[in-house]
């Protein structure tokens, strides 16, 4: 019997055995994968796949992460060694887009800050003046599936939506009804900047001190993608000094954030527990999708969530 190791302790096991019935595997949860009988390893964003995985599981043929982002999987190295890498995409696009709009509207209207202000005995004048949502400019970096849904909702709220994507031609963006701008223009002109690119070598610290300085001093930054897209220390400096007006982050360099996470001390910051993906319907979908994909792979079919190559989403 071959083994499938699940590294995520929270993985719901209901229905897993049924989905894999007849495929000659047993599924086990473990905090590390090891053994010649391990054919597949599944994980979650909180658990990274080690670079030396094959030294411990020489016969592993499939590695999966039950998330859209796959920066926790050394895709290039594993692919080079003949391992198929899968992720799950599309199960929570609408949820993430809605959460981004929730954070965008809450930043522009100052909701969280004003709530704290009233609780501290304040009333008027407002320490953070609410701004119009309609007519504010929403700058979307990365115009993939989620970026496009964010754009559509921003437009429904009558925001001026602009987008930058190094891989989406200007013409294609215009056909979807949105303005394509270069990254400099997007950062310099937007009221709210939101990130929707995968974390890759090219995008790590995409938002650094120089990029933050390009933003308006009354602008907000939203990150529901991956923490590594932002130079965390530079964001803290920018918030403390007032280089930008505020930020909302759903992702941290270490998740869950340790008690000494410095971001919890930064001013004008909304923090979220990596919850943008969540809705009751979306909460089980990635696990079910990935197990179904594992079954496909074990039957010799091509998985739907195949990571074609590092960098493609």
């Amino acid at each position: 019997m071959q083994r499938v190791i699940i590294l995520d302790p929270a993985w719901p096991m209901e229905g897993v055995d049924e989905a894999l019935a007849g495929l000659n595997v047993v599924v086990e949860k473990a905090d590390r994968a090891a053994g010649e009988d391990v054919v597949a390893v599944l994980t979650a964003p909180e658990q990274s796949i080690p670079l030396d995985l094959l030294e411990h599981t020489p016969n592993v043929r499939l590695v999966g992460t039950c998330s859209t982002g796959y920066d926790n999987v050394p895709v290039a190295e594993l692919t080079a060694q003949g391992v198929t890498c899968i992720h799950v995409a599309g199960y929570c696009d609408q949820e993430v887009a809605e959460h981004v709009i929730a954070l965008t509207t809450n930043l522009l209207r100052g909701v969280a800050q004003l709530d704290g202000f009233v609780r501290a005995g304040g009333w008027w004048p407002f320490p953070r003046e609410p701004r119009r949502i309609a007519g504010s400019q929403l700058g979307i970096i990365g115009f993939g599936r989620i970026g496009r849904l964010v754009a559509a909702q921003g437009k429904a709220l009558q925001m001026d939506v602009v987008a930058f994507d190094a891989f989406v031609p200007e013409q294609a963006m215009r056909e979807l009804g949105f303005y394509s701008v270069d990254l400099d223009t997007l950062l310099e002109t937007s009221d709210v900047v939101t990130l929707h690119v995968p974390l890759l070598d090219d995008t790590r610290h995409l938002i650094n001190a120089r990029r933050l300085a390009q933003m308006r001093d009354d602008a907000y930054l939203v990150n529901c993608a991956r923490a590594g897209l932002i130079d965390h220390a530079a964001l803290g400096d920018a918030l403390r000094v007032g280089v930008i007006a505020g930020a909302a982050i759903d992702v941290f360099p270490v998740e869950p954030p340790p008690p000494d996470e410095v971001a919890l001390e930064w001013p004008n910051l909304i923090v979220q527990p990596h919850s943008a993906w969540y809705s009751p319907a979306a909460s089980l979908a990635p696990y079910h999708h990935q197990i179904a994909d594992l079954a496909r792979f074990l039957r010799g079919e091509e998985p739907e969530g195949l990571i074609q190559r590092p960098g493609s989403v």
Partner: protein
């Protein structure tokens, strides 16, 4: 002739620019007394009752820089020949925006999750985010702001029910909503949003009986007026879990006094009467009120007079 401004935040420069051409002087003064006082400029915290005429017998017009006018004795003042003018539509966009922000906040759990992360909680979420698209929004009232909210909420994919004594089904449908009886709205929706003014009929209408009709996972959003709501009943409904929570931009006493009970309720977002605000609407609220007062002083009808004096 004097115009007395009893709101110490009112920008007097702009009030003077608008009113002095009508032959009056403008001053800030908490005391409205004087035979020469012809107009008062006020705000929701500055009540003007009919006894104002005992101090200012020649009062002709009161302008408030607010849409709500429950701080003015409109009927009694009109009977005594005084125009009460409010400002309308100066912040329609802002109130719709802020209400949408609060709807997103409660459905996605934004404010509560922020607090939970700061307390060291991560997963599972004690307050699970819910979808916005496909969720049901109930809008009570269908004036200009209510209509705007219906249009915006349906544009982001919410299903919108409307309860209104005045609206016609086809105009609600044209905005993207569906007109239903209030009871049906209350028992169906994920979020109830109040968009009606305080009248004899609506005062205290959200009492224990009304709140009991709501779903146990529903949120109550009030960016209209606190007097629409029995707050003791609302607090009990939230504390006992009969509804999921609330977002309140209006409180029974404003500013919230120390010990305001609302601040101790669980799952409740509290705002400092901020839904109306943007830099643009702030300017318009003062200027529109002053301009209507100037119209009355020039002998013209105001644009936003509440009740014609008789």
């Amino acid at each position: 002739m004097r115009v007395v401004v009893i709101d110490d935040t009112w920008p007097l420069d702009r009030a003077r620019a608008i009113l002095e051409p009508a032959g009056v002087t403008v001053e800030f003064n908490p005391d409205i007394s004087g035979d020469d006082v012809v107009a008062i400029l006020t705000y929701p915290g500055g009540a003007v009752r009919v006894d104002a005429l005992e101090k200012a017998p020649n009062l002709r017009v009161i302008g408030t820089c607010s849409t709500g006018f429950d701080h003015l004795d409109v009927d009694a003042l009109a009977e005594r020949g005084v125009w009460c003018c409010r400002v309308t539509h100066f912040c329609d966009v802002e109130v719709v925006d802020h209400t949408m922000a609060l709807i997103y906040a409660v459905l996605r759990g934004v404010v509560m999750l922020d607090g939970l992360v700061r307390e060291g909680t991560w997963w599972p979420y004690p307050r699970a985010p819910r979808p916005v698209r496909g969720s049901l929004l109930g809008v009570v009232g269908f004036g200009a702001i209510g209509r705007g909210l219906v249009e915006t909420a349906s544009a982001v994919g919410m299903e919108v029910l409307v309860a209104s004594a005045h609206a016609a089904p086809n105009e609600v449908a044209a905005a993207g909503g569906r007109l239903v009886p209030l009871d049906e709205l209350l028992s169906s929706v994920d979020v109830v949003s109040l968009m009606t003014s305080v009248t004899e009929q609506t005062r205290g209408m959200f009492d224990a009986a009304a709140l009991n009709k709501m779903r146990s996972d529903a949120y109550f959003v009030n960016t209209a007026r606190a007097a629409l709501v029995d707050h003791q009943a609302l607090g009990e409904a939230i504390a006992s879990g009969r509804i999921a929570g609330a977002a309140l931009d209006v409180l029974p006493v404003e500013p919230a006094p120390p010990g305001e009970p609302t601040l101790a309720w669980p799952n409740t977002i509290v705002q400092p009467h901020a839904a109306w605000y943007s830099a643009e609407s702030d300017r318009r609220s003062f200027d529109d009120a002053a301009e209507d007062v100037a119209r009355v002083l020039r002998g013209e009808d105001p644009v936003s007079g509440i009740l014609r004096p008789h």
